[in-house]
């Protein structure tokens, strides 16, 4: 049980990365980066989408080889050629895009690749016990027997952390761990992280949310365009400083939302019911309407039916009861393609899974939804010239950082993949837009940009359903705010009447009186 820990003769005191250079075709992702982290410290890594944070961490975890530079642990230069090396040296990583096998259970995911106490035979009962123990020690609630595909993102992340802890990681790299969490879950995660730091773990924390960085970290290193701009103690930094260091200019942290004349209701839901993946009702009679030119925010703790709501409207999940009416037409049970033609746009929550084809190029992904329409196609022939022009336009307008339109989408940084989906969906000038967590994992300047786009879309008369766990975002953008709890709308309030406290209470299940 404890052999993984006792295997390591010496704990990590200090990890240094010196002069790290990493080139990809067309990009210098890391440009002579010096970075250091010590035991007991939470070191935040900040930078815009594509600044090179994930690349640097992948190098530390042995997934990428640096073109130049070296890594030293406790002053001694080490070669990290593979994740196996990294794990043996006591380095663990929670990836920006989770590395879990969905068809396996939680225990199986944890046990994967580890020697078993019974040799060739799996010792899942032993692993289960140890997971329970670790869960308790670090406050990581998870059911070891559950299948991973059934878990909500927050739970999946706890599995990822358990995987690393189970392997006795001294240094834990967390690549945007909070991007997928609710505010409450973030607090729980922070409690866990602080506990780990107190016990002598070294932690590297990546996030785009400045208040998180300010509240959790001891030191901050800011990257821009693959270079270190500055490393400073968090106590000496302010939000504005960090934003300026990251972006290189002043950033607007809140968008203007000019008044708009509301039109007719374009999206109407009547007593909508639907089951979750586990087969239990996740939507329990949702009725609401969104008018042309209106943004209706859906607030709520994740797992209260928001995902199912979005999927049902987008035609990806069959409702068990109720009706969906878009622009006066009953669209209940329509295929996604038909809905698309009817003017629905959907920005899915799990963009890496639902919204994109990773192996296709940026251009192909951008044209995916209108590749059969004029002027991009006539009959069965595609007009590649027009498509290229269209793609280049979107890449420029939405500031998608990519070496070229032909780059495979999977080579883009996380935030840029997000911008690609957004560009594709908004460019179709939809009547109804379902935006699920549109700025999750997106840096502050891109967030600012996306918010402006949503507001611009609103001015054009789009009816928007904005699903977000970020209360700031909801309050900032919505005209009205509906709170979901256990598959129902517990109340709808006007934006200027809403307060964070009141919404928080409703999110916890208190009905509005």
């Amino acid at each position: 049980m404890t052999d993984q820990i006792s295997l390591q003769q010496r704990r990590i005191e200090r990890v240094e990365m010196r002069g790290i250079v990493k080139r990809f075709p067309g990009v210098l992702a890391n440009d002579h980066i010096d970075f250091e982290v010590r035991a007991g410290e939470i070191h935040a890594l900040l930078g815009e989408n594509g600044a090179g944070k994930t690349t640097l961490m992948n190098i530390l975890y042995g997934l990428y080889r640096p073109d130049q530079g070296q890594i030293a642990i406790n002053g001694q230069v080490v070669a990290i050629h593979s994740p196996a090396n990294a794990i043996r040296l006591g380095i663990g990583m929670i990836h920006q895009h989770f590395m879990l096998v969905p068809t396996l259970s939680v225990v199986e995911n944890v046990a994967l690749g580890l020697p078993s106490s019974r040799g060739f035979l799996l010792d899942l009962d032993v692993v289960t016990e140890r997971i329970r123990h670790l869960s308790q020690t670090y406050g990581l609630k998870v059911d070891p027997a559950a299948m991973v595909w059934q878990l909500a993102v927050g739970e999946q992340q706890r599995v990822e952390i358990l995987k690393a802890l189970y392997r006795g990681a001294d240094l834990l790299i967390l690549d945007e761990p909070t991007a997928v969490l609710t505010p409450q879950e973030v607090e729980e995660l922070f409690t866990t992280l602080r506990r780990m730091a107190r016990e002598g773990h070294a932690l590297i924390f990546i996030s785009h949310k400045l208040h998180e960085v300010l509240s959790i970290s001891d030191r901050v290193t800011v990257l821009r365009d693959g270079r270190v701009v500055k490393t400073l103690p968090t106590a000496e930094a302010t939000r504005e400083d960090l934003a300026r260091l990251m972006v290189g200019r002043e950033v607007l942290l809140r968008v203007e939302r000019p008044p708009v004349k509301l039109g007719d209701p374009v999206l109407r839901l009547e007593d909508l019911w639907a089951d979750s993946d586990k087969g239990v009702p996740a939507l329990r009679g949702v009725s609401l309407q969104v008018r042309s030119g209106e943004i209706l925010g859906i607030a709520g703790v994740s797992g209260n039916g928001q995902r199912e709501l979005a999927e049902v409207i987008a035609g990806l999940r069959p409702p068990t009861q109720g009706r969906i009416i878009i622009a006066g037409v009953d669209t209940t049970g329509w295929s996604p393609e038909r809905l698309l033609k009817h003017g629905l746009a959907y920005i899915p929550e799990e963009r890496m899974r639902d919204g994109v084809i990773r192996d296709f190029s940026v251009e192909e992904n951008l044209i995916l939804k209108n590749h059969t329409d004029r002027p991009y196609a006539s009959g069965i022939f595609m007009n590649f010239g027009k498509i290229a022009e269209y793609a280049d336009n979107l890449i420029a307008n939405f500031d998608i950082r990519t070496p070229s339109r032909d780059t495979p989408l999977k080579n883009l940084s996380g935030g840029n993949i997000q911008k690609m989906v957004l560009a594709r969906e908004l460019s179709r000038e939809p009547r109804v837009l379902i935006a699920a967590q549109p700025t999750r994992g997106v840096d502050i300047s891109a967030t600012e940009y996306i918010h402006r786009q949503l507001v611009a879309q609103r001015a054009k008369g789009t009816a928007t359903l904005l699903i977000s766990e970020d209360l700031d975002e909801i309050l900032n953008l919505s005209d009205r705010i509906a709170v979901m709890y256990e598959g129902q709308i517990v109340g709808i309030v006007d934006q200027h009447e809403a307060t964070v406290e009141q919404l928080g209470l409703m999110m916890a299940g208190a009905h509005r009186t």
């Binding site: 990809f24 075709p25 992948n58 975890y61 997934l63 990428y64 080889r65 593979s82 994740p83 196996a84 090396n85 794990i87 043996r88 990583m93 990836h95 590395m99 879990l100 096998v101 969905p102 068809t103 396996l104 199986e108 995911n109 046990a111 994967l112 690749g113 580890l114 020697p115 078993s116 060739f120 035979l121 799996l122 995987k163 999977k410 080579n411």
Partner: protein, 311 residues
């Protein structure tokens, strides 16, 4: 006529033959299942079976040793699996095309060797039937289950063994993970390449045994294209069986029993034209496949070469 068709003896005969004939399918299907669970499609099964069948027959014919014959089939099958792995894992070649290449190689090479070394159809005395004491005397069940040769018993033993390995061992966990999310397995230090080489090589060995079961246990001859497409049926049975050993068993038995029935119908020469009779098991496979295909999910990384994100 009808009475003869449905007499107890006939039914026992057909089921017994069905069990016997399931043998090559079982080895080949389980071999292929192993590879597919780790994310590799091998369409060259039939070619590997032919080479295994030839090697087993030739060595047995020359040395008189069934054990050496079987060993030869295992070695040849394993080598061909290794070659398949080299192309699809190391060179990341398109797996469907590589498989067809391996098939055509096996088909041509086994025939060439047959022409050069044997020339005519010879026979060997293959693995003898082993009557299991007591059990083989039970009426009906005895002849059906307990009077077979070693390779038949081996094939059936392989079902629980492969189930156990896939589901209860650390290796099996790695295989399943590599087939469903190689990136995740890689990030935990599991060697995706190593696992895939292993499953493909062991799969090849089993496919070699599948060939040997024809040439030195069931038919005891070798001739051009002895397998006559059995390897392709085995690939279909993997899907049919939903990538599970038990499913492979059900598929193999169903297919071979219908086949035995069809042979019997031809022997007594009634009811249906022979061409149609020969089609029966294949048609059945397609029909069942069409109905079961949607319900089970293939390994997510099936036929996709693995590459770390690095360009």
């Amino acid at each position: 006529m009808i009475a003869r068709l449905f007499s107890l003896n006939t039914i026992v005969g057909i089921i017994t033959a069905g069990i016997r004939l399931a043998t090559p399918y079982l080895y080949a299907t389980i071999g292929e299942t192993l590879g597919q669970r780790s994310g590799l499609v091998n369409l060259g099964v039939d070619g590997i079976m032919l080479m295994g069948a030839y090697a087993a027959f030739f060595v047995t014919f020359k040395t008189g040793s069934l054990a050496l014959g079987l060993l030869a089939a295992i070695v040849v099958g394993g080598l061909m699996g290794l070659v398949m792995a080299f192309f699809s894992v190391t060179l990341k070649a398109e797996q469907g095309i590589t498989g067809i290449g391996v098939y055509l190689f096996g088909l041509g090479m086994s025939n060439l060797l047959f022409q050069k070394t044997l020339g005519t159809v010879e026979t060997v005395s293959g693995f003898p039937a082993i009557h299991i004491p007591l059990l083989s005397d039970i009426p009906v069940l005895g002849p059906i289950f307990f009077r077979h040769n070693l390779l038949v018993y081996g094939a059936f033993a392989l079902v629980p063994i492969s189930w156990f390995i896939l589901n209860k061992t650390t290796l099996g966990l790695k295989i399943r993970a590599v087939g469903d999310n190689p990136e995740a397995a890689d990030s935990l230090g599991v060697s995706v390449t190593g696992v895939r080489y292993l499953t493909e090589t062991v799969g090849g060995m089993l496919e070699g045994i599948a060939g040997a079961s024809l040439s030195i246990a069931l038919l005891n001859v070798f001739q051009e294209n002895l397998t006559n497409g059995m390897g392709f049926i085995a690939v279909a049975l993997v899907y049919f069986g939903g990538w599970r050993a038990v499913g492979a068993l059900a598929g193999a038995i169903l297919f071979s029993t219908v086949n035995a029935l069809q042979l019997w119908l031809q022997v007594i020469g009634i009811l249906i034209p022979p061409d149609f009779a020969i089609m029966m098991p294949y048609v059945l496979t397609i029909v069942v496949l069409a109905f079961t295909a949607q319900r089970v999910r293939a390994p997510a990384a099936l036929s996709k070469p693995f590459e770390r994100g690095e360009g």
